[in-house]
Point group: C2
Chain length 154, copies 2
DNA sequence: TTATTTGCAAACCTTTTGCAAGTGA
DNA sequence: TCACTTGCAAAAGGTTTGCAAATAA
C-alpha cells in the first residue's frame, strides 16, 4: 500500500465515524507516517513543534494517536520504558520485537512457526486469539560484542 | 521449593546486599507469597492495610516490590492496564500469558517449542537473549462462549 | 448553522523521591 | 552506635479531561 492510499483510508475512516478531517489531525497523521521509526507521543509532539507552520497541542496529539490506534493505522509497543512507542503499519507486516537492554535499539522479526504454535496453544484451551506481542529482551549484536569485550577486561 | 526455603533465600539475599530484614519488608514479602494470583502494588498495599497489625506505607510497598523484582523473587507483567501486575516465582516455572480482553482473566501457558524458536531467531541475528514475554490477547473460553451467544442474538 | 474539535490548564494515576525521624545489626 | 529504612507528603512523568472558543461540513 502506498502513502496516498493510506491517506485515503484515513479519510474514509473519519467519514465512517462522522469525524472531521481537521488540520491538527492531518498534521499528526502525516508526521506519524513520515518515519519508519518507532516514536512516542511526546516525540511526535516535539517534532511538530519544531516544524514551521501551525502548531498542534499535546492534547490533540494524544487524542489523535488514540484514534489512529483504534483505526488500525498505528500499533503501540511497550518497550519497558515509561512511555508507549508507536509505529505505523504501512509497509510493516506483522512482526515481533527484539529490544536491546543497552542501547534501546528495536529490531523487528517474524517467524510464522511461532505464530502457528501460538494459535495451537489457544485452540487447545478454547482461547479466542485476537492479537499478541512477543518481546525478546537482551543485547543486540553490537552491544553484545561491546559487553563481551569489557567483560574480558574486568 | 517450599515457602520456608524461599524465606531463607530472601534473608540471604538481604544479607548479601547488606540490607536489613525489617518488619515492613517481612510483611510485604509474606503478602506477596501468600497468593498465587497476580497482584498490583496498590492491591498489595490495600491488603496490608486491611489486615490487623502494623501498617506499612505505600512507599515501602513500592520500594520492596522493586527489591523483590531485582532479587528474582517476583516477576512483573504489564497486562495492558495502567498498573503493573506482579507474580511470585514460587511454584511457577517460566510461562507466558493469555489475557482476556473481556474479564481480565490471566491464563498461563508454556510451550518449549516456542522458546526454542525464539532462541533460534536470536542466534540468527547475533542477539543475546536475556528474557522474553509473550502476551496473547483475546477471549477466554467462558467469555468467548458468552460473546458467541450474544452475537447470534444481535 | 451546529455538532465536532481544539488548546489550555488542571486533574489523574501510578510510581518515585527528599527528608527528618525511627530502627535493626 | 549509626548506616540503613521508614513514613509522609510532595514531585514526577505520562496521559486524560472539562470547558469555552474555534472550526469543518
Amino acid at each position: 500500500m502506498r502513502h496516498t492510499d493510506i491517506q485515503k483510508r484515513f479519510e474514509s475512516f473519519l467519514k465512517e465515524r462522522e469525524l472531521k478531517l481537521t488540520n491538527p489531525r492531518r498534521l499528526i497523521f502525516e508526521r506519524a507516517f513520515a518515519t519508519h521509526e518507532h516514536f512516542s507521543a511526546e516525540e511526535l509532539y516535539a517534532a511538530l513543534k519544531d516544524e514551521p507552520g501551525e502548531k498542534v497541542s499535546r492534547a490533540s496529539v494524544y487524542r489523535t494517536l488514540a484514534l489512529l490506534l483504534e483505526g488500525g493505522f498505528l500499533e503501540a509497543l511497550d518497550t519497558g520504558g515509561s512511555e508507549l512507542k508507536y509505529e505505523h503499519v504501512l509497509g510493516h507486516e506483522h512482526h515481533d520485537h527484539m529490544l536491546c537492554l543497552d542501547c534501546g535499539r528495536i529490531e523487528e522479526f517474524h517467524d510464522e512457526r511461532i505464530e502457528a504454535l501460538q494459535e495451537e496453544n489457544c485452540k487447545k484451551r478454547g482461547f479466542e486469539l485476537v492479537s499478541h506481542d512477543l518481546r525478546l529482551r537482551g543485547y543486540c549484536k553490537a552491544c553484545a560484542k561491546k559487553r563481551a569485550k569489557s567483560a574480558s577486561v574486568d
